[in-house]
Amino acid sequence: MTGSTVPVLALLGVSKSYGAARALVDVDLQVHAHEVVAVIGDNGAGKSTLVGALTGALVPDEGEVLVDGSPVTLSDPSVARGLGIAAVFQDLALCANLDVVENLYLGHEAQRGPLLDEVTMEKHAWELLNQLAARVPSVRVPVAALSGGQRQAVAIARSLLGEPRVIVLDEPTAALGLRQTAEFLTLVERLRERGHGVLLTSHSLADVQAVADRIVVLRLGRTNGEFDAARTSYEELLAAVTGIQR
């Protein structure tokens, strides 16, 4: 963040309605490089819609999406990827029958002449997984044989291949055991160290407080407070999530 105060990714006054249901109402949000921002909220608070608006999965009715301070139109996810915004969704979208390397390079395999350059791909796959301190037994096992946490590491490693600046993680710990959650949280710290901006949504306040720099609370589609994670108590966050007047 040295010197640059322009957020890599920002939302400005974004609203989105599904008929009468107002999923997002005038939401502002900023993600800087080298920062972990968590979005928390109850069911139906608008977290998934927010992720959709950030990753190009849906276009907001009102408001602007800014990348490096200039407005962009994220008409679909490939546009967002082109601008350096990668997303990992809850279902991970991995092919269970393919091995780790094949999953990482599916659709953009490295080639040497007419052949696949397996050596380069395998080396790079190990490099990425080691940087994330991910413990995968082998990059040549089918993804089906990996644990939930390891699969998540593979999905995150795949999102890193295009060297994105912001990584958006939707409910990453929802389906994980505690040991895998521990590994995932360590992984988020690594992403931050690599200089990426990270935005994650979660239900678990304890997980969010453990890794986030800033916590944004959504309630019924509106921003109900933005907190410095290091100086905010569990009770304050809980009050903001549930809407208790203090």
Partner: protein, 394 residues
């Protein structure tokens, strides 16, 4: 080990005492060669060789060929199938759990970031679940775990197992961890201050191996310390011995979380260092600061050097009182290496009595961030009685 030296009456009891002495030496140090074992126990090499042979066939010890200084030697460890022990280290912002066999070999290790101001009930619940999952992952069951050692970043009265400080670790005041965790796991649980455990690990397995009088300083989120006197961790009245983080640096200084003014922690603790860099460098973590300092960032280097100076000033008082053989610096800040240790040595030398032996040597912790959890494992392992150690039929 003091009472081991008492010579008992009969031949049989003498052999028994010697067997116990060898097992306890291996238990404490993890692995030793037979020659080193003779040195440590004071027994003759022939006696050591005989007893090791006996205990190996009884399934208590395990030997493997190795070499020392180019000569063939026998490496002696405890037999692996005797069980597992667990170690836990609650830091201010992270939890580390390790599982090892009785030969000090780590079979599983896991780190987990924790929220600020975590509470005892939630922290212990997470640690217990994490340990259960880790035991599962090595295809063992919880009943194979013989004991659990726990380290916390606050003074602990080791006789009652209660945290004896007030306000040092909010949410943990007065918590009786051995009972709380013991009930959940159904295992014996032992607790100590984390810096004391770090000191123990460095003396047994790390940078201070073989030393008798050692001061260990742990600089991380908070600042703690451990005193090893005569090879044993010194606890003091209620476990607050060695709490170097709360020695006063400046009477007019800022108010510390302990309620006093100008404590060392208010000059060296990670939140203070990060706050100093916030206006110019933005939001950083301690690891960022060290990485940037290594890359040559002047501001980060300055912050680390000043922290080293303050640590040296506080450590000088301890060194003047105890004249240790070695000062070991651990905790996350110690990853900064010489950037931290050089100014520390200078400040220390200027404030301690000049000695014919030179100034007290200062080194970084050899076990790094794992020192505390290794100490927790060692404490757990110390409580384990190895069946058959004293009762081998000759």
């Amino acid at each position: 080990m003091g009472n081991d030296r008492v010579t008992p009456g009969s031949q049989t009891s003498l052999r028994e005492a010697n067997r116990a002495r060898i097992v306890s030496a291996v238990q404490q140090r993890g692995s030793l060669t037979q020659v080193e074992l003779a040195g440590v126990t004071g027994l003759s090499p022939a006696t050591v060789s005989n007893i090791v042979k006996e205990l190996t066939s009884a399934g208590v010890l395990h030997t493997a060929p190795t070499s020392r200084s180019g000569r063939r030697a026998q490496q002696v460890t405890l037999a692996r199938n005797l069980g597992l022990v667990a170690g836990m280290h609650f830091g201010t912002r992270s939890l580390r759990v390790a599982l090892s066999d009785v030969a000090h070999r780590i079979v599983a290790e896991q780190r987990m970031p924790l929220p600020p101001d975590h509470r005892a009930d939630q922290g212990l619940e997470r640690a217990a679940l994490l340990l259960t999952e880790m035991v599962d992952s090595v295809d063992a069951v919880l009943s194979e775990v013989l004991a659990v050692g726990v380290g916390v970043p606050a003074p602990v009265d080791v006789r009652t197992g209660q945290l004896s400080s007030l306000g040092m670790l909010r949410g943990w005041d007065g918590a009786a961890v051995p009972q709380l965790l013991g009930e959940r796991l159904g295992l014996p649980v032992y607790i100590d201050n984390d810096a004391n455990l770090g000191a123990l690990a460095e003396v047994r397995l790390g940078a201070a191996r073989g030393k008798q009088h050692v001061v260990y300083v742990r600089a991380s989120h908070g600042v703690g310390g451990g005193l090893v006197l005569g090879g044993e961790v010194f606890h003091g009245r209620v476990g607050a011995a060695g709490e170097i983080g709360h020695t006063t640096i400046d009477d007019q200084g800022p108010i510390c979380r302990c309620g006093n003014r100008g404590c060392l922690e208010m000059y060296v603790g990670a939140p203070v260092l990060l706050d100093m860099l916030r206006p110019s460098h933005g939001n950083l973590t301690l690891r960022d600061v060290i990485a940037r300092a290594e890359a040559g960032d002047a501001g980060c280097r300055r912050v680390i050097a000043d922290a080293g100076h303050h640590l040296g000033v506080a450590a000088a008082g301890v060194c003047n009182l105890f004249d240790p053989e070695l000062l070991v610096v651990g905790g996350e800040l110690a990853d900064a290496g010489e950037m931290l240790l050089e100014p520390l040595r200078t400040a220390l030398t200027q404030r301690t009595i000049p000695s014919t032996a030179g100034p007290v040597p200062v080194v970084g912790a050899e076990l790094g961030a794992a020192a505390e959890v290794r100490g927790a494992l060692a404490v757990a392992l110390d409580t384990v009685t190895i069946a058959g150690a004293g009762a081998v039929v000759v």
